[in-house]
């Protein structure tokens, strides 16, 4: 991490004595100013609503101290905007990232295009059953909730399922559903359209305390059939399979690639895939979730699969992995890294080479 120039610290100090404290984590004076304003607004609001001995100034000071130790702003303030939603954030659950927001918007766009394309051919399979979306490793539930907000005006019937292994995350996801319903950011039908279930995507639990994703889906959606690869005639029962799974390698978690704040305060469960030992020889340890999800996508005959990856290398590995797994299948599909065109990169605020990338897989018919 580059050192902050002394002149900047002096300037910050002259402006407000809390700014240098925030500068430790924020790194730029603009960012520190913004965070100071957001924290101040919250401190003033809290001191008005909550009966407290301490005034807002001392509250603000302690908030700034927490922040300077790397404690995430979203855990201090308790929420993070995601699209037009307000997602509650709490220790133990990953904070939604702006990239995830971009992937979610893009997924919603593609689902709409797909539905329009079908209507053009005057056969609309979406009439028979609701549009079905499954989000794996849902965390705060930000993806299912935003997808509902975006798709709700265009689809009569929606069935969105969020899956996570963490009971803390599931509690928060349900709370977020309720919270955004109350804010009026979600249509009332979201209450019945969206469901959160506990399941293990990796399915490696030896004691079976958590159901595997397959058995969970079969219990909740008996009409998903036997998830049988051997019946090629079976109609697709899933329109969108989306996931932001843990994807950081053990090395990247420790070597400084992962920010101190993330490493110390966000749940490792949501960041680094567990080491499964043998049995997954054909992919790198940080890619094991993709292996499982791609296999599931093939079983479900998901029409669209959207996966968040750590960087373009990982995204390319996922595309290759998909090709390998799908080669045994009869159906055709197209996998691509997104965003990769210059315009898409710029429009979504992605760096030309660095940062996260997504993988989008479309089943062709």
């Amino acid at each position: 991490m580059p050192r902050i120039p002394f002149s900047v610290i002096i300037k910050a100090q002259r402006e407000n004595n809390l700014l240098p404290i925030l500068l430790k984590e924020c790194r730029t004076i603009d960012s520190a100013r913004n965070e100071l304003r957001w924290l101040r607004e919250r401190a003033v609001r809290d001191s008005q609503s909550l009966p407290s001995k301490a005034g807002w100034r001392s509250r603000l000071r302690s908030m700034c101290r927490m922040r300077s130790r790397g404690y995430p702003l979203q855990y201090i303030l308790g929420d993070q905007p995601f699209g037009d939603l307000e997602i509650l954030c709490r220790r133990g659950v990953l904070i939604p990232r702006p990239e995830t927001e971009s992937y979610t918007y893009q997924a919603a766009n593609l689902v709409r295009q797909m539905a329009l394309g079908h209507n053009d051919k005057s056969k609309s399979p979406n009439q028979a059953r609701p549009l079905r979306v499954i989000d794996l490793c849902t965390g705060t539930g930000c993806i299912p909730l935003l997808l509902h907000a975006l798709l709700c005006p265009h689809f009569q019937e929606l069935e969105i399922t969020g899956v996570d292994i963490s009971p803390t995350a599931l509690d928060l996801a349900r709370e977020n559903l309720e919270h955004n319903l109350q804010l009026g950011q979600l249509a009332p039908r979201a209450g019945t359209d969206i469901h959160f279930y506990r399941a293990d995507v990796l399915g490696h639990n030896s004691d079976n305390s958590v159901p595997s994703i397959e058995s969970m889906l079969q219990t909740q959606h008996p009409n998903l059939g036997a998830l049988d690869i051997s019946s090629p005639d079976q109609e697709s029962e899933c329109d969108l399979l989306i996931s932001n799974p843990p994807y950081i390698s053990q090395t990247d978690f420790r070597n400084g690639t992962t920010a101190r704040s993330v490493r110390r305060f966000e749940p490792k469960l949501a960041l680094v895939p567990p080491y499964l030992g043998s049995g997954m020889e054909d992919c790198m340890p940080e890619d094991i979730f993709y292996h499982r999800i791609l296999t599931l996508a093939l079983k479900l005959k998901a029409k669209l699969t959207v996966l968040e990856c750590g960087d373009s290398h990982q995204a390319n590995r996922v595309v290759a992995l998909h090709k390998r797994l799908a080669s045994a299948e009869s159906g055709q599909s197209r996998a691509e890294v997104w965003p990769s065109r210059e315009q898409d990169l710029a429009d979504n605020g992605f760096h030309e080479t660095d940062g996260s990338r997504g993988v989008i897989i479309r089943t062709l018919r």
Binding site: E15, N16, N34, D252, D311, D354
Partner: protein
């Protein structure tokens, strides 16, 4: 306004009964309405009559709209004609030697009151004739930036922000601060830039008197030797368009390529934060800044106040639309001004670069340089109080007078060329 009406009373000829019958009705109203304005009013009233007839036969939204716009002119002209007619009638009654004395005294009284109402009617007619500003009905954005004067300009800019927020709240206009870049000081805040959104319809018309450079003269808090400094703060009032352009009629719809205010999205470069290094789960950045650049005009808008990128994006677009619309309107006015300059020989036009007002703390006064009005309750003005209304009203009247002058000049030139 007060000054104006006093002047008018002094200037008004005390004609009374001694008025010579030969001079007739026109004399009584000459000082108020030029023939050019009167003929323009008649023209519009005729159009209104025709439109009303057509509407009687079949309804058509466009015709109805135009008729609605013309109705005030037609009605006020009717009042004006009626007042003049009654003056003529009363005078002939008075000049008639057969009128008995009781009737005569009644007629004298009526004549007086008719004469008194005539200037007000003329004034209203003048106002009704002035074409409405294209943005008059819109909500507005008010942008405040410190100019020359360093820290002191930033401090005063912050006080002006408070002044306008207080003014809008007092007038029930619901101000929201869209953007506030401040250097957060320990005691006083220095503004770098602020934008207030005033959502009430017609807010543009109320606040457009405020566009320009405001000057402050005082001993700043930062001054140790007691010297008076002069600093400047620039204020820009911009029209605020609804998010969905189709809510506007086609001339104002910025989504309609045929509209004057159309913005081609292809010409706008959108930049979000594009940090290098690791992204996604590896880091947790809180920046949500958006920057928009309109490439043909190099207009740049950046917004980072909100934690939500979506909200920053919406606000940035709103600002960009407002800035481009104002710039285009400004360009059009400039063109008109060029046309008129030949006729009037130099029109007083206050652009956004001109110094329009001085706040002098030593003398506790606020002087507007357009109207020359001075109000001595500076504290009240800075609290957004009545004094500010007085100043703004005087400027509004001044703007209206300039517009009438320009219109008369134009009509005269048109008449000459015919």
């Amino acid at each position: 306004m007060l000054v104006k009406s006093i002047c008018r009373n002094i200037l008004r000829p005390r004609l009374g009964l001694k008025l010579s019958p030969l001079r007739g009705v026109h004399t009584a109203s000459d000082y108020a309405l030029s023939p050019a304005l009167l003929s323009r009013a008649r023209l519009l009233a005729d159009e209104h009559t025709k439109l009303a007839e057509r509407l009687g036969e079949s309804f058509d939204a466009k015709t109805a709209k135009r008729a609605g716009e013309l109705a005030p002119v037609a009605n006020i002209l009717k009042e004006w004609v009626h007042a003049n007619d009654s003056i003529v009638e009363l005078k002939s009654l008075l000049n008639d030697p057969d009128t008995d004395s009781e009737l005569r005294s009644l007629a004298t009284e009526d004549l007086e009151s008719s004469r008194d109402t005539l200037p007000t009617i003329s004034d209203r007619l003048k106002k009704a004739l002035i074409p409405r500003h294209p943005f008059a009905d819109l909500p507005c954005l008010l942008e405040i930036r410190p100019g020359a004067g360093g820290d002191e300009a930033g401090l005063f800019a912050f006080e002006m922000l408070r002044m306008y927020v207080a003014f809008c709240s007092r007038r029930g206009l619901r101000p929201t601060i869209l953007k506030q870049d401040t250097e957060v000081g320990a005691s006083d805040d220095r503004l770098i830039e602020a934008v207030i959104e005033i959502e009430a319809n017609g807010a543009y018309d109320i606040l457009r008197t405020e566009s320009g450079v405001h000057r402050v003269q005082r001993v700043p808090a930062t001054e140790t030797k007691g010297r008076t400094h002069t600093s400047a703060v620039s204020v820009m009032v911009l029209p605020s368009f609804p998010e969905d352009g189709s809510e506007m009629d086609s001339a104002m719809n910025f989504e309609d390529p045929s509209s004057d205010y159309y913005i081609d999205p292809q010409e706008v470069r959108v930049e979000k934060m594009r940090a290098g290094g690791a992204g996604g789960q590896h880091v947790n950045k809180t920046e949500s800044a958006i920057r928009l650049t309109h490439i043909p005009t190099h207009t740049v808008v950046s917004m980072q106040d909100e934690r939500s990128q979506q909200a920053n994006r919406r606000k940035a677009w709103q600002m960009l639309r407002a800035k481009l619309a104002e710039a285009r309107q400004e360009a059009r006015e400039q063109e008109l001004m060029q046309l008129r300059r030949g006729i009037l020989g130099g029109v007083a036009k206050m652009g956004r670069g001109d110094k329009i007002r001085t706040y002098n703390f030593g003398q506790s006064r606020c002087t507007d340089h357009r109207t020359g009005i001075t109000v001595h309750n500076l504290d009240g003005i800075l609290d957004g109080g009545d004094g500010l209304d007085t100043v703004m009203d005087s400027v509004r009247a001044w703007i209206a007078d300039r517009e009438v002058e320009a219109m008369v000049a134009e009509d005269m030139a048109n008449a000459k060329s015919k």
